[in-house]
């Protein structure tokens, strides 16, 4: 299981939780797992999210690998000027 940290603004959509455990080996599986566990998160995830894995911000790639002990943070989708 991977522990996923949500930004606190998402708590209301995840039954009050700010950490969610999902079965996942990739970023894509993390996102699928989150929606399965908490369907309320679907819109926020579809709107675009980035995932920070061990401090590295994965902006969009769903195939990036995740280990069970990885530090995983959901973040809003990064862009720039």
């Amino acid at each position: 299981m991977v522990e996923v940290n949500l930004w606190s603004g998402l708590r209301a959509l995840a039954d009050g939780k700010d950490k969610v455990e999902v079965e996942a080996t990739t970023v894509g599986e993390v996102l699928d797992g989150l929606v399965k566990a908490h369907p309320g998160l679907k819109d926020a995830i579809d709107a675009g999210v980035s995932v920070a894995v061990d401090g590295r911000v994965i902006a969009s790639s769903l195939t990036e690998p995740i280990r069970p002990d990885s530090e995983v943070f959901l973040m809003q989708r990064l862009k720039g000027g």
Partner: protein
């Protein structure tokens, strides 16, 4: 990125400062920018814009315009696709109003004619009737009870119940217990800050030349930071198949984030489809100000607690961003960047994205971050002042470093904030004596940086030279960096590489030139494409020598046996292989397609000396030093250029630039005379220090450098003004009238 592909020393070309490949074109007037293209039989277009901040469009009568000799076609919203959703709908609504004009300058119709003058005359003949609606342009007023609702149902599910419908997105993050942290502090300062909207102020107005037929096939030439994005959006807005619209990026006369989306391109395409002729559309400067994408305006509350020794015990911020009539103000970036430079046990940040009757905001260099830095770094300066602490030592004491849990959640990898602070401390500027009436200000800044979808192709020519095709428009000399990286890998002279910005038909999708991603991501892809070509070159040598491919390595532009056991062969230079490539397996092309995900975050520390004229309230910047982590500077001169340009834009934001709306909701200063960007006589030389803390996510350690440089200046100058004149400005810009008011208040006690 595997570690074995990392290269940190022994560069032969990277780090040198050769002339840029497109220099000759740009100093002779030969370079073709957006407005420099023509086509046989071309028409010229003009856009009719709303003079009202908020109004229902009750009637559009185009008959008089259409009757004018030379007019070939008129389009309104009815000429675009229907049924769009999400951001595509937002963009279409912004590009051409539906039933309501949402801001002063909102497009409502457009006309194409045989000359620019006829098009302009015809635009005046298009009659539009409006029913004027109540409007709001200020962020705090737009959130307040009773404010006019811009659009019902625009909010997404992130917004907590009970807020005004103009609050359309909400962000909240942080960790620890801020109340406990504030209780541990010896001094807590809380202040309210406001910043006005600013514009990127690129000198080249948006311009395009569109050709679209009834067969759904089109060609578009435009100045943009990302032509694949233009292709994608325009296809959706016009109802075209994406691949049938080929987009070519012109040379781009500045973007800074403002050319990451579309404004006029879909309109020119619609006119071309309707008239069956090429249509050129060029914005005027006032159209650029009124109807492209300025920054958000903000209203912010920041509270920070500090111990006497300088340790920050807790930090909290509320950031309200007004981003025009559509969702998208980067409130989450403002919130996430705000406290990122500091290692905080207790931190909490909230962001509100608020809509109002202004043009849809667009990205501007580190979108959202400079405003946050203005508020946060001002409060830190105030704390240091009241506690008698050195501003750099205090920042060093709290600085984020490898292993710090970032204010936005994750743990930082290798980062360079401490190194920038140490370099600033050691810089002669920091210890130079000040003249009477001058003050010195310090500020740090942070930006995430970005990777993004990238495709690159590198084709070798028979004479051993190389043609590199990248998909990221060159805004500030990136061709030079790309050529340096390709030359480094191939082991051939820099001058032997020709870099082209390919059109959308030539490469796979390339994300926009934004997020400081070009030298990072297109650079990484260039290195990988060159390595791919080298592998193929080595294979040809191996075949010639009759040895295994892995027994050949590449050195100084030649294939050589990888060791004594591989056999005894003379080095085979690149041109000896390419000369015969047609007969030995065909053309040799290296390529790379990926979404690099290792963009390293970037920090900067700025030092500024300012003096304030007590009679006029004018602030002069007398000395400026930028210290920033570049990871690895590929072409140091252009890295310095990014540092200097960001600082200059930040100086303008701090001191002069602002969108001024009247009571009527109309923009009052839509010309460069009244929207005053820094001119040469406003600025001193801008000193730079390039710090290099390698980014582990790039083969050479590159971090993007384009954006972070605009984050510290706002606060650094506010802190310098405070030191020089003894007044703390909480609102930008710190224009002479505001400074005078603050000085008068101070005199009146």
């Amino acid at each position: 990125m595997a570690l074995d592909s990392l290269k940190s020393e022994g560069f032969k070309q990277v780090g040198t400062r050769p002339d840029r490949p497109d220099g000759f074109d740009k100093v002779t007037g030969r370079a073709k920018f957006g407005a420099d293209a023509t086509a046989p039989g071309m028409l010229h277009a003009a856009i009719v814009r709303s003079p009202h901040a908020h109004a229902r469009i009750t009637r559009i009568d185009t008959s008089k315009a259409e009757a004018l000799t030379g007019v070939k076609g008129v389009v309104t919203r009815a000429d675009f696709a229907t049924g769009l959703k999400g951001e595509n709908w937002n963009i279409l609504e912004n590009v051409m109003a539906g039933d309501t004009a949402l801001y002063d300058g909102h497009a409502v119709a457009a006309v194409a004619a045989t000359s620019p003058l006829i098009a302009r005359d015809a635009a005046k003949l298009i009659e539009v009737e409006y029913e004027i609606l109540p409007h709001v342009t200020d962020v705090d007023e737009a959130m307040a009870e009773g404010a006019p609702v811009i659009r019902e149902g625009a909010a997404d599910k992130s917004v907590p119940p009970g807020l005004h419908p103009n609050v359309v997105r909400y962000h909240e993050s942080g960790h620890g217990d801020v109340d406990k942290g504030f209780a541990e502090a010896d001094l807590v300062i809380e202040d309210h800050f406001r910043t006005e909207a600013t514009h990127q102020g690129y000198i080249e107005p948006h311009a395009c030349l569109a050709t679209l037929g009834g067969d759904g096939k089109g060609e578009l030439w435009c100045c943009t930071q990302g032509h694949w994005n233009v292709q994608k959006i325009c296809s959706a807005l016009l109802g075209l198949e994406t691949s049938q619209l080929r987009v070519t990026a012109s040379e781009i006369g500045g973007g800074f984030g403002g050319k990451t989306t579309v404004f006029i391109e879909p309109v020119a395409l619609a006119l071309s489809r309707k008239t069956n002729k090429p249509v050129k559309l060029v914005m005027s400067r006032s159209e650029v100000f009124r109807a492209t994408g300025p920054t958000s305006s903000t209203s912010m509350d920041v509270k920070i607690g500090m111990k006497k020794d300088g340790t920050i015990t807790a930090a909290q911020g509320v950031f309200r961003l007004q981003g025009g009539a559509f969702p998208g103000a980067p409130c989450e970036f403002t919130a996430m960047c705000a406290f990122a430079p500091y290692a905080l046990k207790n931190v909490h940040q909230v962001g509100y994205d608020v809509i109002a009757n202004r043009p849809k905001q667009a990205a501007y260099r580190a979108p959202g971050s400079p405003m946050a830095a203005f508020a946060v770094e001002s409060v830190i300066d105030e704390l240091c002042g009241q506690l008698g602490l050195d501003p750099i030592e205090t920042r060093l004491k709290n600085a984020s470093k490898r292993g710090t849990k970032a204010s936005f959640g994750p743990t930082f990898d290798q980062i360079g904030l401490v190194e920038t602070l140490e370099a600033a401390k050691a810089h002669p500027h920091y210890s130079a004596p000040l003249k009477p009436g001058q003050g010195r200000g310090i500020s740090c800044g942070f930006w995430f940086n970005h990777g993004g979808e990238t495709a690159v192709s590198l084709a070798l020519s028979e004479d051993g030279t190389a043609q590199l095709a990248v998909g990221t428009p060159d805004i500030g000399g990136s061709r030079a960096s790309m050529a340096l990286m390709a030359a480094e890998e191939l082991g051939i002279p820099y001058e032997n590489i020709r870099v082209t910005i390919a059109d959308t038909a030539t490469l796979g999708y390339n994300e926009v030139s934004h997020g400081s991603r070009v030298t990072y991501a297109s650079g990484l892809a260039t290195i990988e494409a060159a390595r791919d070509a080298v592998k193929k070159l080595c294979a040809r040598a191996a075949a010639k020598w009759g040895i295994p491919e892995d027994a050949v390595k590449w050195e100084n532009g030649c294939a050589v046996p990888s060791g004594p056991n591989a056999g005894d062969f003379d080095p085979l230079p690149i041109d000896q292989i390419t000369k015969r490539m047609g007969a030995t397996g065909g053309p040799i092309v290296g390529h790379f397609e990926a979404t690099p995900e290792g963009a390293g975050v970037s920090f900067a520390t700025h030092i500024v000396d300012a003096e304030v004229d007590p009679e006029t309230g004018k602030t002069s910047v007398v000395r400026y030093t930028v210290v920033q982590d570049a990871g690895k500077a590929i072409h140091p001169t252009y890295v310095e250029g990014q540092f200097q340009g960001g600082a200059a834009q930040g100086i303008g934001w701090a001191l002069n630039e602002e969108y001024i709306y009247g009571e009527d909701g109309r923009l009052q200063n839509a010309v460069f005379l009244d929207y005053r960007i820094p001119v040469a006589s406003d600025l001193p030389m801008i000193d730079t220090v390039i710090v290099e803390v390698p980014n582990p996510g790039h083969p050479y350690g590159v971090r993007g450098v384009g954006e972070t440089s605009i984050c510290p200046p706002l606060a650094a100058i506010a802190n310098a003004v405070s030191a020089a004149a003894g007044v703390r400005l909480h609102e930008l810009p710190m224009s002479p009238p505001r400074i005078l008011t603050a000085l008068e208040k101070q005199r009146d006690g």
